[in-house]
Symmetry: D2
Subunit: 345 residues, 4 copies
C-alpha cells in the first residue's frame, strides 16, 4: 500500500469506538477522516473524552450511513447489534471496505443469528464477511471487503481452543470455558447494575448457558475441529475496567504435551505470547494492547489441559484486533499502531 | 449451656483472627478472655485495628501454648499451618476444646498431609478432629473436642458438590471447580505480589492443579460420594478484599433437576440461601456474614449442572464458620453472633 | 419508652433507604411496619437486594403519603429533595414523627433554600425541624417531631469544625473543607458518570464552590460560632463505595492545643473516637457504622489546625445517624442497633 | 543531535524504573544499553514484568556504579534516596549526563537536606543540579549535566502554584495543598500497609505536615515568588494505582481572573492542558502520559483560587518527565516517546 489509509469510525464515543480512535489517531499509516456519535454529534472528541486534549481537534458528526464512506478507504462500525448492518451495507455499496465491530456479520448461519439476535437485516451479505482473527484467517482477511470483528469472549476462548481443535486433539467430554471480564465489556450505557457501587468488591456470573457469544465460539470451534462442537460457556463480571481472563478446560483426545502444539501455532505470531507451562497470565499485562498471553498445564488425572488466555477486551477483544485486520487488509506492517506496552502497574 | 462461653483466640491480628474477634466481641454468649499476637503483643487491639476503637480495650498477649487454655472453654487457633498443631495439642491436653482454623487437622490421612504440607507434628491426633461444616456434620461437631475448620475454597466448593455426591448423582467426567477469591484469602503477610498495585485491575489463576486445598476438597467429596473422586481445582486471585465465588461444573449421572436435591439439602438451613435456578449469586451479598448463596442451571447438551456458590472467605470461609461450630459445640442458638446482614452497597 | 418503636421507611431501595432497612430490621427496639419503593413496589426486599435473603420477607409497597403513618410511631423519609416535603408534612399531620433524610428541612432560611434547591414546598414547616446531629443537639432532638437528618458532607465537616466554632477559636482566614466521598453518596440512579468504568482508578473534584451542602455547613457553623462564617468546600468523587474523609484546614484564633477542646467535646460520646494528635483516620475503619473517627495536628507556621474526620456516608452520613436520632427521640439506648464494628479488611 | 541517545537505567524494576523502560524502549531516538536491578539481576526484564513479553530480551544487570556510564550518553538513576548520590557522581565523573529520579539533588540547601533526609553524600555537587520541570526551566535543563527530576507531589503542586508566584499574585494567607495519590507513589517494597486489602476501599492522610516533599515545594515556590513561602501540604493515599490529584487553595493578592495568567504560562506548552474555569481534571485522563491537566475556579468570598491539577505520578511525576528532560538535554523533539494517549476507560 502506498500512502495513507483514510478511515471513518461510526460510533466513536462508546468504549469500543473511543479505543479505536485512540489507536487510529496515533497510527503511522492511517488518517481519521470522520468519526460519528449520536450522543455527542457536534462536539469535539476531546471535550467528551478529556484524554484527547492536545492530541486532536476532531469534531464528532451525526451518522449518515450513505455518507460514511465519502473519501475513506475503510470504515469501522462500532454500532449496536442490529443497527450496524444497514450502515455496513451502505459503506460496502459505496465502495469502501468495512471492519464491523458489531455481531451482525459474525455468524454464518442465518437461522442461528435469528435465534440469538432476531431477524437479520441483510442476510444475503452474511457470506461476504470474514471472521477476523488474523492469526487464524490472515489470508482471507487480506482480500476481504468486510471483516466481522470477533466478540471479546470468543477471541479469548478461541486462542485457547483452536490449536487443539485444528490438531484433532479435542477429547469427547465437555469443554468448559470459564471467562472473567472487566466491566467495559458491557458498554457505556447508563444501567443501574453497571454502577460503580454495584460492581466494586463484587463478582457474579451472568447469562449462564445463554450468552450471545456462545454460538460464535461454537461456530468457529466447529470449523476448526471439522466437526460440530459446543462449549459450556460461563461469563463473569469483574470489578476491573479492562481485561478478559479465560480459563478453558480442554479434554484431550490423547496423552499429549500441548507445548509443541501451541508453539507451532503461535511462536511466529508477534502478538501472541506463550508464557510457558505452569506460567499463567494476568490481564494487567495486556491492558491497552493487542497482545494475547497464554499459559497452560495438563492435569493428567483427568486428561485435561487447563489453558488460560488474557486479553484486553477493548484491545484485542475489539479495537486493536480491528486495527490489526485493517493492517492486514491494506498490506501495511501488521503491528503498525499497535506497539503499546501495557503500563504496569 | 448455661452461662457464658469463655474463649481465647490465638493469632488475633491476622485477617482470620481479627474477624474472629469482631464476631466474638459482639457475641451474646461469648466472652473473649484472651487474644494473642506475635507481632503486636503488648498492644491494644484497637491500636492495631482502629475499627475496634470504643468497643474494646483488649490487650494482645504473646502466645504461650501451655497457658492459652487457662480459664477458657474453647480456643480458636488462627495460626500458620504447621505451627498450629502444637498449640492445639497443648490446649486439648489442658482440657479445653479447640476450633482450629489452620490446615493441620483437616486431612485424615497422614500420608496425604505429608505430601502437601510436610511432616505432621501430631499425627496421632488427626483422628480426633471433626471437619467442621455444620450443615454436613452437625452431630459430630456437637460432641467434638477438636474441630478442624475447613479451608475457604473447600467450603465454597463443598456446598456446591456434596448434595450431588451424597445422592449418587455425580457423573463420571471431570468435575471442574473454578474459584475466584478476594485477596484477604492470602493473608496479611507483606508480600510484593499482594501489594495493592499488583492486585488492582488484575486477575490471574495460581497454583493450578497444586493448591493445598485440593486434597481437602477431594477428601470430603470422596467421603460424601462413597467413592474416590478428585476435582480439577483452579483458584484465581481477584481485586476484591473479601469473597469467594465458586463456579462448579458438575457432570450428572442422569437427567435430573437439581432443585429438589438442593432444596432437600438446604431448605432448612438458615445460613444457606438457594437463589433458584438461573439466579446466580454475587459475593457482595454475603460480605461479612456466615451466609452461603447458591444458584444453578443445567446445561442439558452436556448433562452438566453449573452450580455457583458465594461465600465470604473470612466469614463462612474462616471465622464465621468457626463461630457457628462453637455455637453447635456449646449448644447455643446456632446463629448467635452471626446475624449480620451484608452492607450493600 | 416501653415497647417497640413501629417504623416506616419511605424510599427503601435507594442506597440510604436500604441501609436504613439493614439497621432497622436488626434493631432490638424497632419493628419495620412498612417500606416503600417506587421502582420495586410489589416485590420482596430480598428479591431486590439478595443480601436480605433469609432475614426478612418484607414486601415493598408503593408510596402513599397519607397512609405512610398508619400504625407507625416514626417514618424515615429517604426520598428525593423536593419530593420529600409533601410526604413529611402528611406524616406529621397524621400524628407520627419523622426523620427526614432529604435536604428539605435542613436549611432554616427559606431564601437560602430557594437559591440552592428552588421553591420550598412547605416553608411554614421549616421552623419545626431540628437539625439532627445528636452530639450537638441531643436535647432538641429528644423533643422533636421532625428531625432533618444532615447531609453526609456537612456531618463530616461539622464534627471537625463545631468544637472550634463554639469555643470562639476560629481564626479569621478561609476555612478550607476538602472532602473525599465514596460513590454511594451520589445515589443509585443510572447515570453514565457513575458507571464503574468511569469511576474506577479515578478521582476528580466536582461542584467546586457550588455544592448544595455548602449552605448547610455554613448555617450550622455560623450558629455554632455565633457569627456568620462561610467555608471553602470542595468535594471529590472517590473510587470507593462508602466513606467520606474530610480534611479541614482550620485557622486558629490563637496558639492553642486543640486536644483539650476536642476531648471536652467528644470524650463522653460513644460514637466519636479521638485517635489523637498526629494519628489520622481511615474511612475503612468506620465502614458500615455510626462512628466518627477524628485525628488532627497543628501547623504552627500558619497557625492552622488540620482536622481530619472519617465517616461512612451511608452510615453516620445518612441512615445510622437517622437511627441514632430515633433512639434519642424515643428514649432508648442511643447505641441500640448501632453496635456494628467495621469489617476490616 | 545526530544519532541515537544511548541510555542506562539504574533501578529498572521499581515502579519508576519500569515506567522508564516502558517509555525508553519505544523511544524513537533512544536505545537502552543497560538496565540494572538489585533484586532481579541476571533475569530478563520480560520475565519479571510479563508486559514486556515480545518487546525486548533485555537482561537485567547488577548495579556497578563505576561501569554504569560505559558507552552511554545519559543515565537515569531510579535508586533509593541516599543511595543514588554515589552512583550519580560516578556517572558524572565518567563523563555521561544524569537524570536522577531520587531526592538526592533536588534541594539546594545542604542544611535543609540534612533535616529531612540526613547527611548528604555529595554536598559539593548540589549546586550542579537543575531542578527538572522543563516548562519552568527549559533553558537550564538544555545545558545541564545533572537534572534532579522532581518529586511527584511537588510536580503536581508547582504546576498549580508557580504561575501565581511568578506573577506576584500570591496573597498573604496560608497556601493549602491537599494532594491525593495512587499507591504506586509509595513504591514496590513489600509493606503491610500497602497490601491490597489495606488500601482498597480506603483513604487516609499521612505524614501530615512532615512529608519530605514539603521542603521541595517550598523551595521552588519561594524561588518563583522571589520571597520565602511555605505551603500546608497534606498528602492522602488513594485506592488507585496511578495518578495524583492536587487541589491547591491559593490566596490571591488581588481580585484577579487567573485565566490570562494560566494561559500565558501554559498555552504554548504541549503537555499542559488548561481545561478551563469550572472544568476540573480527572486523573484517569492523564494515566500513562506526561500530560498535566489543570482546572480552576475563584471563590470570590475568600479571594481564593482553587486550582486543581492531575498528573500520573509515575508518568509526569517521575519517568515521563525524566524522559522529557532527556529530550530537552539532547535537543530532540520534546515530545519524542511521549505521545501516548491515556487509555480511557
Amino acid at each position: 500500500m502506498a500512502g495513507t489509509i483514510r478511515v471513518a469510525v461510526a460510533g466513536g464515543t462508546g468504549y469500543g469506538g473511543v479505543e479505536l480512535l485512540r489507536l487510529l489517531l496515533r497510527h503511522p499509516h492511517a488518517a481519521v477522516v470522520r468519526a460519528t456519535s449520536e450522543q455527542y454529534a457536534g462536539k469535539r472528541l476531546d471535550h467528551v473524552y478529556a484524554s484527547f486534549r492536545g492530541r486532536t481537534d476532531l469534531l464528532l458528526e451525526p451518522l449518515r450511513a450513505e455518507r460514511l464512506a465519502d473519501g475513506v478507504d475503510v470504515a469501522f462500525t462500532a454500532l449496536p447489534h442490529g443497527a450496524a448492518a444497514t450502515t455496513v451495507v451502505a459503506v460496502l455499496d459505496a465502495g469502501a471496505r468495512v471492519v464491523d465491530l458489531s455481531a451482525d456479520f459474525r455468524l454464518r448461519d442465518v437461522e442461528t443469528f435469528r435465534r440469538w439476535y432476531g431477524e437479520h437485516p441483510a442476510p444475503d451479505r452474511l457470506g461476504d464477511a470474514v471472521y477476523g482473527i488474523p492469526e487464524f484467517a490472515r489470508e482471507r482477511i487480506r482480500g476481504a471487503r468486510l471483516v466481522a470483528n470477533p466478540g471479546c469472549y470468543p477471541t479469548g476462548a478461541l486462542f485457547a481452543l483452536v490449536p487443539f481443535a485444528r490438531a484433532g486433539l479435542l477429547g469427547s467430554g465437555p469443554i468448559v470455558v470459564d471467562a472473567k471480564s472487566g466491566a467495559s465489556g458491557a458498554g457505556r450505557a447508563a444501567k443501574t447494575d453497571l454502577l460503580f457501587c454495584e460492581v466494586e468488591e463484587s463478582i457474579h456470573p451472568y447469562a449462564v448457558g445463554r450468552h450471545r457469544h456462545t454460538p460464535e465460539i461454537d461456530q468457529e470451534l466447529s470449523l476448526a475441529a471439522g466437526e460440530r462442537r459446543a462449549v459450556i460457556f460461563v461469563p463473569h463480571l469483574l470489578p476491573i475496567r479492562r481485561g478478559i481472563l479465560t480459563t478453558a478446560y480442554v479434554p484431550l483426545a490423547s496423552d499429549v504435551d500441548p507445548e509443541p502444539l501451541l508453539r507451532s501455532a503461535y511462536d511466529h505470531e508477534r502478538f501472541v505470547q506463550l508464557l510457558g507451562a505452569e506460567t499463567f497470565p494476568d490481564v494487567r499485562d495486556v491492558r491497552g494492547t493487542n497482545d494475547v498471553h497464554i499459559g497452560w498445564t495438563v492435569l493428567a488425572h483427568e486428561r485435561t489441559a487447563v489453558v488460560v488466555t488474557a486479553i484486553d477486551n477493548l484491545g484485542r477483544g475489539a479495537a486493536a484486533q480491528a486495527v490489526q485486520s485493517m493492517n492486514v487488509m491494506f498490506g501495511v506492517d501488521e503491528s503498525a499502531g499497535l506497539d503499546d506496552i501495557a503500563a504496569v502497574p
